[in-house]
Amino acid sequence: MVKKIGSRIYLSIIFLFLYLPILVLIVLSFNNSKTRVKWGGFTLKWYASLLENETIIEAFVMTLQITLTASILATIIGTLAAIGIHAMKSKGKAIMLGATNIPLLNADIVTGISMMLLFVRFTELGFSTVLIAHLTFDIPYVILNVLPKLNQTSKYAYEAALDLGATPLYAFYKIVWPDIRPGVFSGFLMAVTMSLDDFSITYFTKGAGVNTLSTMIYTELRKGIKPEMYALSTILFGIALILLLVMNYRSSKKAIN
Amino acid sequence: MGKDFIHLSNISKSFDGQMILDELDLKIKENEFMTLLGPSGCGKTTTLRLLGGFETPDEGKIFFDGKDITHLPPNERKLNTVFQKYALFTHMSIAENIAFGLKISKKSKAYIDDKIKYALKLVNLDGYENRSVDSLSGGQQQRIAIARAIVNEPKVLLLDEPLGALDLKLRQDMQYELIRLKEELGITFVYVTHDQEEALTMSDKIVVMNQGYIQQIGSPEDIYNEPINAFVADFIGESNIIDGVMIEDKLVEILGTKIPCVDIGFDKNQPVDVVIRPEDVKLVDPSAGFMEGDVVSIIFKGVHYEIEVHANGYDWLVHTTKMHPVGSHVGINVTPFNIQIMNKPESSDEKAVELDV
C-alpha cells in the first residue's frame, strides 16, 4: 500500500516536471499583463491580435508547410523503403538499417551542418533545402515504425492471395496494407512531431528568407517573446491533445471490438 | 498410495467479478500423478496457480503437508512449476537456467554442477550445458524447463499444459518420458491439460473440471467407463448422448424404442441422459438389432472405421473394424452393460456446463 502511494507520488512529480512548462505557457497566453512574471488578469486579447501579427502567422504557415510536406513525402518514401528493406537479404537489410540509424543517432548539429555544407555547394538555402533536411530525419522514423509491422505480417497470407489470382498490387492493398497501416500512421505522426519540434537542423539549412516558429523564436530571443506566441502554441497544443485523444479512444474501441 | 499431502479446502476465486472457482475442495495424495482436466476457462490453471502461489484465494485455505500455505509467496513454497510456454530465461545459458534455483538456495558449486549434469541426463540432453536457449527446439526447451524445476527437489511438480505447444509425435514421446520421470523421482505431479488423451495415458487420478466445479474424480478407467454425467462423458472421448426416459429398473426408452440396461434406482418415467460409447455400438443384421438404420458416412481411421448411422432420427457414431458401405441397411445393438444412464442436469450451472462443450 505504501509502495503504491509512493509510486503514485513519484509518477505525479515526473508528470508535473514534464507538463509544468506547458501549463505556464497556457496560463501566460491568457495573462493580461506586460511583464511575464506577474498575473494581470484574464484576457483573450493575445488570441485576437495573433491573427494580425504577420511575422508569427507567416512563420506558422511556413512551419505547417514544411511539416506537412515533409511528413507526407517521408511517409511515402519511408513506407516504400520499408517494404523494400523487408524483402532484402540479411546483409542488405543490415546495411540499410545502419544507414537509417545515422540521422537518428548522429548529433543534430552535425546533421544540420553537413547538410548545409552540401546545399551551399549546389543551391541557395531556402524552403526546399529545409524540406530536404526534414525529409532526411523524418524518413527513418517512418521506416522504424513500419518495419516491425511488416515483420508481423504473414508472408503466407500474401502468397495465398497471389495464389488465388490477386495481382501483387491488389494483394498488397488487401493483405499487407491493413496490417502495416497502424505503423505507417504512427510513423507519419512521429514525422510530424519531429518536424514540428525541430530547431537545430532547420536553423542550419534555412537561409535568410525562411523562418519556422522555432527559428523565429530563436532570432527574437533578445527582443522577448511576443504573448501571441503563447496563444498560438496553446492552440497547437490543444489541437494535438484533442487529435491524439480521439485517436487513442478510437484505437482502444477497436481493441475492445 | 500415500496420505493426503495437499488439501485445497473450500477455495473460491473470482477475477473481475467473474467466478472462476466456486468452493473447490480437492485432496492430492503423496506420490500421485494427478491431472486436472477440463476445457479452457474451467478453472484448472487457476487451481494450479493457487498451488504455485501466484494467486491467493478469495476464500478457503490451502494446506501443504499439514501446514497452511495459503498466503505463502511462491519463492517459499516447496513445489516447482513447469510453465506452459517454458518461461526459460533467454539471457542465461542452459546451465544457468537449471542452476537458477540452486544458486538462490546457496548450494555449493560442486553440488550445482553435479545437479546440472544429473538433470540434463534425466531429460536426455546431456552435454547441452552451454547452449543458448534460442538454439533449442520446443521439445528441448520443455525438457530444460522440467530439468530446471526438478533440480530443486520439489515435493510436488506442477505442470501447466507443458506439452500444449509441441506437435503430436513429440507430445506422445514426452508423455512416456513424463511417466518415467515421475517414477524415477517418486514425487507428486499435478498436471493441467485440456487433452483427454494425455490425461488418460499418464494419470493415476483425473479430476474433470468445468466452470469452476469439479465434475468427477477418479482413475482414468473410472472416468472413461463410468462417466458421472453427460459433460464428463462427452469431454472424455466421443459418445452418443441421447435423451431417454427410464421406464422401470433395467429398462430405458430412447428414440421410441425400449432397450434393456443394467441401471436401477431411477424414478419411473424419469428423463435421463443415455450415454453409449461409439466402440460399444454393434452393427448387426437389421432384424437382429433393437433399432434399424442406414449408413450415412464411413471414414477409415486406421485402427477402425468411423461410421455414422441414421436411425430413428438420431445420427449414431459407431467405431467398428468391419466395413459397412454407405447406404447399407443395418441394425443397431448394444449390450446392456455398456449403456450408461445418467441424471439430467438439474441446476442451470450444470446446464451451462453442457452448452459450453
Partner: protein, 274 residues
C-alpha cells in the same frame, strides 16, 4: 521476378541515403580535413587541443554524463511503475511523453527560464517561505536541468519497452524457483532491460553532448559547450573548416559511444525506440 521488384521500392530511399546522408558526411570530412584554400591539413582536427576547445569539450562531456545519469535514475523506477500498472494500451505511455513535443521545444525551455529566474515562481515560493533566493538561471545546473527535461522521454520509452516485453511467466518462473522480489529484480528484470537502458543512454547522451540551444537559453552565454563553439564557428566566425574539424571530433565521440553500446548490447534491439 516480383521479389526483385519489391526490393526496388527502396530505390528512392537508397538514392536519398547516398545524396543526403552519406554525401554530407563526406563533405564534412572534406571541409574538416582541408584549410581555407582546399589544401589537406589536420589542423582543424587538432584544434580540439586548443585550451578553449578542450575545456568546452570536457565540460560538455561532464554535463552530458551527469544528464544521462540523472535521466537513468529518474527513468528506471518510472518505467517500473508504468509497467506495474499493466496498461491495456501501451501506446498511451508513448502518447504522454510525445505530447509535450507538440508545444514548441524552445517555448517550453523558455517557460522553465521564467520558473527558474531570480524573480520567478520558484524563488517567489522560496521567498514566501522566508528562504533566501537562489541563483538558478545561467548556471551549468540550469543547463543540465533543461537537458534532463528535454531528453528524459528518450530514456523512459526504450526502458519501458524492454520491460513490457518481459513475460509474466518469466517473473513467475523466477519466483517459483525461489527468488524473492529483490533477486527477481537483479537476476531477471535488470539483465533483460539492459538493451533498453543502453539505447536510452545513447538517445540521451548524444544529444546532451552536442546540444547548443539549451545552453544558449538557460546558460545565458556563460556556459560554453562544444556545440556552442561549433555553432559560432559556422554562424559567426564563418570558419567552416574549423567548424567541420570540430564536428568530426564530435562525430568520433558519437560513433565511439555507439560502438561501446553495441558491444555491450547482445540482442541488438537497441535503437528501436518506438
Amino acid at each position: 521476378m516480383f521479389k526483385l521488384k519489391k526490393q526496388f521500392l527502396a530505390g528512392p530511399y537508397i538514392v536519398w541515403i547516398i545524396g543526403f546522408i552519406l554525401l554530407p558526411i563526406v563533405l564534412i570530412l572534406f571541409y574538416g580535413l582541408s584549410d581555407y584554400h582546399g589544401n589537406f591539413t589536420f589542423d582543424n582536427l587538432l584544434s580540439i587541443f586548443d585550451p578553449i576547445h578542450m575545456k568546452s569539450l570536457l565540460f560538455s562531456l561532464r554535463l552530458a554524463l551527469i544528464c544521462t545519469v540523472i535521466c537513468l535514475i529518474l527513468a528506471y523506477p518510472l518505467a517500473m511503475i508504468l509497467n506495474s500498472m499493466h496498461l491495456k494500451h501501451q501506446s498511451f505511455v508513448v502518447f504522454v511523453f510525445v505530447l509535450p513535443m507538440w508545444m514548441n521545444f524552445m517555448l517550453r525551455i523558455l517557460a522553465w527560464k521564467l520558473l527558474l529566474s531570480n524573480n520567478g515562481v520558484i524563488n517567489n515560493i522560496l521567498a514566501s517561505l522566508g528562504l533566501p533566493a537562489i541563483q538558478l538561471l545561467n548556471t551549468p545546473s540550469a543547463v543540465v536541468f533543461g537537458m534532463v527535461y528535454d531528453y528524459l522521454p528518450f530514456m523512459i520509452l526504450p526502458i519501458y519497452n524492454a520491460m513490457s516485453r518481459i513475460g509474466h511467466d518469466i517473473i513467475d518462473a523466477a519466483r517459483d524457483l525461489g527468488a524473492n522480489q529483490v533477486q527477481v529484480f537483479f537476476k531477471i528484470t535488470m539483465p533483460l532491460t539492459i538493451s533498453g537502458v543502453l539505447s536510452g543512454i545513447i538517445m540521451v547522451f548524444v544529444p546532451a553532448l552536442t546540444s547548443f540551444v539549451i545552453s544558449n537559453l538557460l546558460g545565458g552565454g556563460k556556459v560554453l559547450l562544444i556545440g556552442n563553439v561549433i555553432e559560432q564557428e559556422f554562424m559567426q566566425t564563418m570558419d567552416w573548416n574549423l567548424g567541420s574539424g570540430l564536428s568530426i571530433v564530435l562525430m568520433i565521440f558519437v560513433i565511439a559511444s555507439m560502438a561501446f553500446m553495441n558491444t555491450h548490447n547482445k540482442d541488438g534491439e537497441g535503437t528501436a525506440v518506438w
